[in-house]
C-alpha cells in the first residue's frame, strides 16, 4: 500500500550574518547551507495496517509525512501510495488520502464547523446521502454534536482536534496520515481519538500512519513500529519484536525500612553495570531499580537485594515500551 525506499530530503537554508551589514550582504550574496532533514528512510505499510511512526523531535517524521502527502518533493528516493506518486496529479491523489497535522488546522478559521464540512463535501464531491451517513457516523465516534455550530476559532484544542480528524475522514480515504494527533490533549480526548482511529481502521480497513510522542497511542493502536532518528531508520518491526530485541530491561520495585539503602546496595559497583544498563530512583521508602537482565539475571539481583537490606514488599516488572524507547532515543542508532 505504502512503499518508501531510500527517501531523502534536503532543505536549503539561507544563513544570515548578524547585524544590518550581514542583512545587506546576504541580500546580494545569499549564502545557503544544506540541511538534511531526511537522510535515508525505507519502509512499507501493507493495506489496513496501523503504523506507529516514531522518533525524537527533529528526527524527520513530519518531513516524511509531507513527502507522502505530496506537500514536499523528495530530493531523492521513492515513495508510492497505492502505486501512485504523490507528486503526480496532486488533485486526484489527495482525494484518496486524509491528513491531520496536529500542530495546525485544515478547518476554515471563521466558518462554523458545520459549514466547513459542507465545503469539504463539495470539494471531495461526496454525494448527499453518503455525506449524511458519514456525518452521523463521525458524530458518533468523535462526538461533534455539542460544538458543530461554533466557528472554528472558538473551539478548544480537544474539540478542534476531533473536528480536524473528522474533516480528514469525510471522503472515506484509503490512507490516513496523522502527525501528532494527540498533542496537548487531556486523557479523555486522547481516548476518544484513539477509539475513533481504531474503529475506522477496523471497520473500513483504512491504512493509518501515525506519529506521536505518546507511546500509549502506539501500544494501543499500532501493531508495527518504524522508528527513525536523525533522518535514518533505527528500528522496524512489531512491538513484541522491539521488546525482545531491546527489552531485557526489568524493573525492581521495593519498599524498605533500611536507611541509606541506595548506598548500602551500590548496584553499580557491585555488579559492574554500564551506566546505560542501570538506573535507580529513590522516593522515601520506595525504590525503583531499572536494570538490564542480560547483564545480571533477575534472580541474582533479587537475592543480592534481599540479603543486604530488609524489604517489606517487592515486585519485578517487564520494561514498558516507553522505557525501551527512552533508551533508544538516548543511544541513537545502535
Amino acid at each position: 500500500m505504502i512503499y518508501v525506499e531510500n527517501l531523502r530530503k534536503e532543505f536549503k537554508k539561507t544563513v544570515k550574518e548578524p547585524g544590518l551589514k550581514g542583512s545587506i550582504k546576504s541580500l546580494f550574496y545569499p549564502k545557503s547551507e544544506k540541511v538534511v532533514a531526511v537522510k535515508d528512510i525505507s519502509f512499507e505499510v501493507p493495506e489496513g495496517e496501523v503504523l506507529g511512526f516514531i522518533g525524537p523531535n527533529g528526527a524527520g517524521k513530519s518531513t516524511v509525512i509531507k513527502m507522502l502527502t505530496g506537500i514536499l518533493t523528495p530530493t531523492s528516493g521513492v515513495c508510492t501510495i497505492n502505486g501512485r506518486n504523490p507528486r503526480e496529479n496532486r488533485k486526484s491523489y489527495v482525494k484518496e488520502i486524509g491528513v491531520v497535522f496536529g500542530q495546525r488546522t485544515q478547518l476554515w478559521w471563521d466558518l462554523p464547523l458545520r459549514e466547513t464540512y459542507g465545503v469539504l463535501k463539495e470539494i471531495y464531491e461526496v454525494p448527499e446521502d453518503k455525506y449524511k451517513k458519514r456525518m452521523a457516523f463521525l458524530n458518533e465516534v468523535l462526538d461533534l454534536e455539542s460544538f458543530i455550530t461554533s466557528p472554528v476559532r472558538t473551539l478548544s484544542l480537544g474539540q478542534r482536534m476531533r473536528a480536524d480528524i473528522a474533516a480528514s475522514l469525510i471522503h472515506s480515504p484509503k490512507v490516513l496520515f496523522l502527525d501528532e494527533p494527540t498533542i496537548g490533549l487531556d486523557v479523555v480526548v486522547k481516548d476518544n481519538i484513539r477509539n475513533a482511529i481504531e474503529y475506522i481502521n477496523k471497520e473500513e480497513k483504512t491504512t493509518v500512519v501515525l506519529t506521536t510522542h505518546d507511546l500509549a497511542d502506539i501500544e494501543l493502536l499500532a501493531k508495527r513500529i518504524v522508528m527513525i532518528d536523525k533522518g535514518s531508520n533505527v528500528f522496524d518491526g512489531s512491538i513484541s519484536e522491539l521488546k525482545n530485541r531491546y527489552g531485557q530491561i526489568r524493573e525492581l520495585h521495593f519498599d524498605t525500612d533500611t536507611k541509606n539503602a541506595e548506598k548500602i546496595l551500590s548496584y553499580g559497583q557491585h555488579f559492574n553495570f554500564e551506566p546505560e544498563d542501570l538506573s535507580v530512583e529513590c522516593e522515601g521508602s520506595q525504590m525503583k531499580v531499572r536494570f538490564n537482565s542480560s547483564v545480571v539475571p533477575v534472580s541474582e539481583m533479587l537475592s543480592y537485594t534481599l540479603g543486604k537490606i530488609s524489604v517489606n514488599d517487592i515486585s519485578v516488572k517487564d520494561a514498558d515500551i516507553e522505557e525501551i524507547i527512552r533508551r533508544l532515543y538516548k543511544q541513537g542508532v545502535e
Binding site: K66, G70, T73, K95, R104, Q106, E122, I123
Partner: protein
C-alpha cells in the same frame, strides 16, 4: 464546468464571513483609502489654484476631481491581496493545508477574495458613482452619466481585477525564493501606483513615457477603466485598450500557472 465552479462557491462564502468577522479591520482599511483620496484632492486643488491655466494636460479642475474619485473607486474594486496572502501562507506553512485538498490553489484564493470584496462593492459603488455624477452635473449643468460607458467600465474593472490578481499571485511566488516579502511588496505597490496612473494621470507624463506606460500592464489596472468611464476612449481606441486588458489578463494567468508548477517543486513547508 458548473459543477467545477460549485466547488468554489463555499470559498466566496468563507470570504464574506471573513469580512463580516473583521468589520473593524475593514472599516479602518476603507477609512485609510478615503483619507488618501481626500489628500490627493487637496493637493490637486492647490496645484490648480496656483496655476494660471484652467486646463492642465487636457484635464480641467472638475475633471481632475472626477478622476481622483474614480481612481479611488477603481483601485479599491480591483485591489487584490494575493501577494500578501501567499507570502504569509508560505511563511507560516499553512499553504500545506491548501495543498492537501483536491482544489486549484489559485482558484481558492480568487473566490475567497471575491467573497471578501462583495461587501466593499455593495457599500462603495452606489454612493461613489452618485457622488461623481453630482460633481460632473454641477460643473457642466448636464447629466453626464452614460450607461454604456458605465457597463464597459464594469467589464474593464473585472479584467483589471483579473490582471491584478494573477500579477499578484506571480509576485507572491517570489515568496518561494525570498521567503519574506513585506518590503518587496511595499516597493511594488509604490511602483504600480505610479505606473498605473494612481498618483498622477498618465496624460501628465512626457509623451514618450506615456506611450510606454500605456502599453505596460499597470495602465490596464486603473487607468483604462477610469478613462472608459469618463468617456476618453471611443471606438477603436476603446476596443484596443479592452483588448490589451484581455491580453494582460491571459498573460499573467499563464505566467502564474507556470510559476506555480515550477515553484511548488522548491516549496519548503515550514513548521511541524
Amino acid at each position: 464546468m458548473r459543477k467545477k465552479l460549485r466547488i468554489y462557491v463555499p470559498f466566496i462564502n468563507a470570504g464574506m464571513q471573513e469580512t463580516t468577522t473583521y468589520r473593524v479591520n475593514w472599516l479602518f482599511y476603507m477609512f485609510g483609502n478615503v483619507l488618501g483620496c481626500f489628500i490627493s484632492y487637496f493637493i490637486w486643488n492647490a496645484v490648480y489654484n496656483s496655476s494660471e491655466n484652467s486646463t492642465m494636460n487636457g484635464f480641467t479642475m472638475p475633471q481632475m476631481i472626477v478622476y481622483i474619485f474614480l481612481m479611488f473607486l477603481t483601485s479599491t474594486l480591483v485591489s487584490s491581496g494575493g501577494t500578501y496572502d501567499i507570502g504569509e501562507e508560505i511563511r507560516d506553512g499553512s499553504i500545506a493545508m491548501r495543498l492537501i485538498k483536491p482544489i486549484s490553489y489559485n482558484a481558492t484564493f480568487l473566490f475567497q477574495e471575491l467573497g471578501n470584496k462583495a461587501m466593499t462593492i455593495c457599500i462603495l459603488i452606489v454612493p461613489m458613482v452618485v457622488g461623481v455624477e453630482i460633481v460632473r452635473f454641477n460643473f457642466t449643468g448636464a447629466v453626464q452619466f452614460n450607461i454604456l460607458y458605465f457597463l464597459l467600465y464594469l467589464v474593464s474593472c473585472v479584467l483589471a481585477y483579473l490582471i491584478n490578481f494573477f500579477f499578484n499571485i506571480c509576485f507572491g511566488f517570489i515568496a518561494f525564493v525570498i521567503k519574506y516579502l513585506w518590503g518587496a511588496n511595499l516597493m511594488k505597490n509604490c511602483i504600480v501606483g505610479f505606473l498605473s496612473g494612481q498618483t498622477i494621470p498618465l496624460a501628465f507624463m512626457p509623451e514618450v513615457l506615456e506611450k510606454v506606460f500605456l502599453i505596460l500592464p499597470f495602465a490596464s489596472l486603473n487607468y483604462t477603466p477610469v478613462m472608459i468611464y469618463i468617456g476618453m476612449y471611443n471606438g477603436t481606441t476603446l476596443l484596443y485598450f479592452l483588448g490589451l486588458q484581455v491580453f494582460w489578463a491571459l498573460f499573467f494567468w499563464g505566467l502564474s500557472k507556470l510559476l506555480w508548477s515550477v515553484s511548488v517543486k522548491y516549496l519548503a513547508v515550514q513548521g511541524g
